[in-house]
């Protein structure tokens, strides 16, 4: 049950249910999940692999239409990708054929902003993510962490009301993660950007969030909401504090059970021979 009920929510998801048809029968990926996001808050959704959080990401982002329930953004029910929601994907999503500037300017190009203004705006966001000096490079010349920053800058350039991120740092090593997490935190606090982060990394979630939603293993239900009462503004130094450690321990306690169920399920599936697909 939510421990604090936000009244002026900018994003409301009501009773989302998502089912998929598989050869073994229908499975429920997301089971009656509801959530509310306040403007300016940083909300993380955390859960073990297989808890349906990426499905939820696609539902809120409007990329998946086959669900029950409704998602409302600033009062409007969405029916496809909403212009107030900006998405950052888990995989490499920069356009390899465009320079950094042209990548970041992409959403501005779509709304017909004149070229000079576009480039200036793009520069601003490139600077924001700390990539000034790399404006004319191609993504292929950058590291993985830098490419994710380009994707982030591109989404931020569209100035979304809500930033929706699906494990954007999953492919990066731990140190890069912490530093990028720091950067995202700074940006979010500076822009007062409403952010919804999907992750399986507890440290990351506690580091950056105001609230954390814990999901159970499939069928994904909301297990608990944790208010993170760590002071703001924060930096990655908070990772060393006692309060931080307590939050992580508490959340892991809750999640361990779900993660175990996930692992046992996978082992059960692996024992079924003759089930080879591509």
């Amino acid at each position: 049950m939510p421990s604090s009920a936000p009244s002026d929510a900018i994003l409301v998801a009501d009773d989302i249910v998502v089912q998929f048809d598989t050869p073994e029968g229908p499975i429920t990926a997301v089971d009656n999940v509801s959530l509310k996001v306040r403007p300016g808050e940083f909300l993380s959704i955390i859960g073990p692999s297989g808890c349906g959080k990426s499905t939820l990401f696609n539902v809120i982002g409007g990329l998946l239409g086959n669900y029950q329930g409704a998602v409302n953004v600033a009062g409007e029910t969405i029916s496809g990708p909403h212009k107030s929601i900006g998405m950052v994907f888990q995989e490499e999503s920069t356009f390899p054929w465009r320079t950094v500037t042209d990548n970041v300017a992409f959403p501005l190009e779509l709304v017909g902003m004149p070229k000079r203004e576009r480039i200036e705006r793009a520069r601003h966001f490139i600077k924001l993510v700390g990539l000034d000096g790399f404006e004319n490079r191609y993504p292929g010349e950058l590291s993985g962490g830098m490419r994710q920053r380009v994707s982030l800058a591109r989404t931020l350039a569209s100035e979304p009301k809500i930033l929706l991120m699906d494990e954007p740092f999953a492919a990066l090593d731990e140190q890069t993660r912490l530093l990028l997490g720091d950067k995202v935190l700074q940006i979010q606090q500076q822009l007062k950007q409403t952010t919804l982060l999907i992750t399986h990394n507890i440290t990351e979630a506690v580091q950056m969030s105001d609230r954390i939603l814990l999901m159970t293993y499939r069928p994904g239900k909301l297990k608990r909401i944790v208010d993170i009462d760590l002071p703001r503004p924060r930096t990655s130094e908070i990772v060393g504090s006692e309060a931080f450690g307590r939050y992580v321990a508490q959340i892991w306690n809750d999640l361990r059970e779900e993660a175990n169920r996930g692992m046992r399920d996978e082992e059960k599936n692996a024992l079924h021979p003759g089930d080879r697909t591509l």
Binding site: E92, P96, W97
Partner: protein, 260 residues
């Protein structure tokens, strides 16, 4: 299937290997030369390499090989332009309409392995013994790889890039021009490279067979005149041109794809 050159400088082993390769070839030529001069090989079947090399001068001065080269190149260029426009166009349309793709893609793949160039007598009937028959042969044989690679390139766009486009609510046209097509270009160029190679091979081959045109016709001509050294020299020239053309295309592809 591309040749992977060792990156980051050639080692001494590589130089030795290249030396061995080149050296063997030269040694082979010298052995042939010696065997002919000793009378062990019939010089009316294999002319001495020295005579072949000497014939090159004749090819340039008397046989107008430069002019013929440009004629052949022109035919290849026309075939190349036609196949680029038609091949990419057909590929785009087929990919766009999934049912069409599922129905026809295997047909195109089947034609890729079929002896299309064997229809040249048919085209001779339609166009006569002239350049258009030759261009058509180059065009038709180059078409299947371009179509197939275009479909492959567009279909193979990474799903996350498609999702980025969807997350920005792009229209189908915007999605195609801003995301699918640019993402497909490297693969499309592979198809064009394959197509151009087939075009060259079939243009020269058809020139030889129907005795019309540039370089291919020259070889046929020299052979019919029993100019042995000249025939060998002309064949070497054509092979050289093919190899250089192939290398140039590879360079172009690598230039277009600096980061992979």
């Amino acid at each position: 299937m591309t040749m992977e050159l060792s990156t980051g400088g050639l080692s001494r082993r590589d130089y030795t290997a290249s030396f061995l390769g080149l050296g063997s070839f030269i040694a082979f030529l010298l052995v042939i030369e010696a065997l002919i001069r000793l009378g062990l090989l019939n010089r009316f079947i294999i002319p001495p390499p020295s005579e072949i090399i000497a014939s090159f001068g004749r090819l340039f001065l008397e046989e107008n090989i430069v002019h013929r080269f440009f004629f052949t190149a022109g035919e290849c260029l026309i075939a190349g332009v036609m196949v680029t426009i038609c091949g990419i166009g057909i590929g785009v349309v087929m990919q766009r309409f999934n049912l069409l793709q599922r129905a026809c893609e295997t047909w195109v793949a089947a034609f890729a392995s079929a002896p299309l160039v064997l229809t040249y007598p048919l085209f001779m009937v339609i166009f006569g013994r002239n350049a258009w028959t030759i261009i058509m042969m180059g065009f038709l044989s180059a078409l299947p790889p371009v179509i197939l690679k275009t479909i492959e390139g567009i279909s193979g766009t990474r799903k996350v890039l498609v999702n980025v486009g969807r997350s920005f609510n792009l229209t189908a046209t915007q999605q195609f021009w801003k995301i699918l097509f640019p993402a497909a270009l490297p693969t499309i160029f592979v198809g064009i490279r394959l197509g151009l190679i087939f075009a060259l091979i079939n243009v020269v081959g058809t020139e030889f067979l129907i005795n019309f045109g540039g370089l291919g016709q020259l070889i046929n001509d020299l052979a019919e005149r029993y100019d042995l050294a000249g025939t060998y020299a002309a064949i070497c020239f054509v092979i050289l041109v093919s190899v250089l053309f192939f290398m140039a295309l590879e360079k172009a592809e690598r230039w277009l794809r600096p980061v992979n």
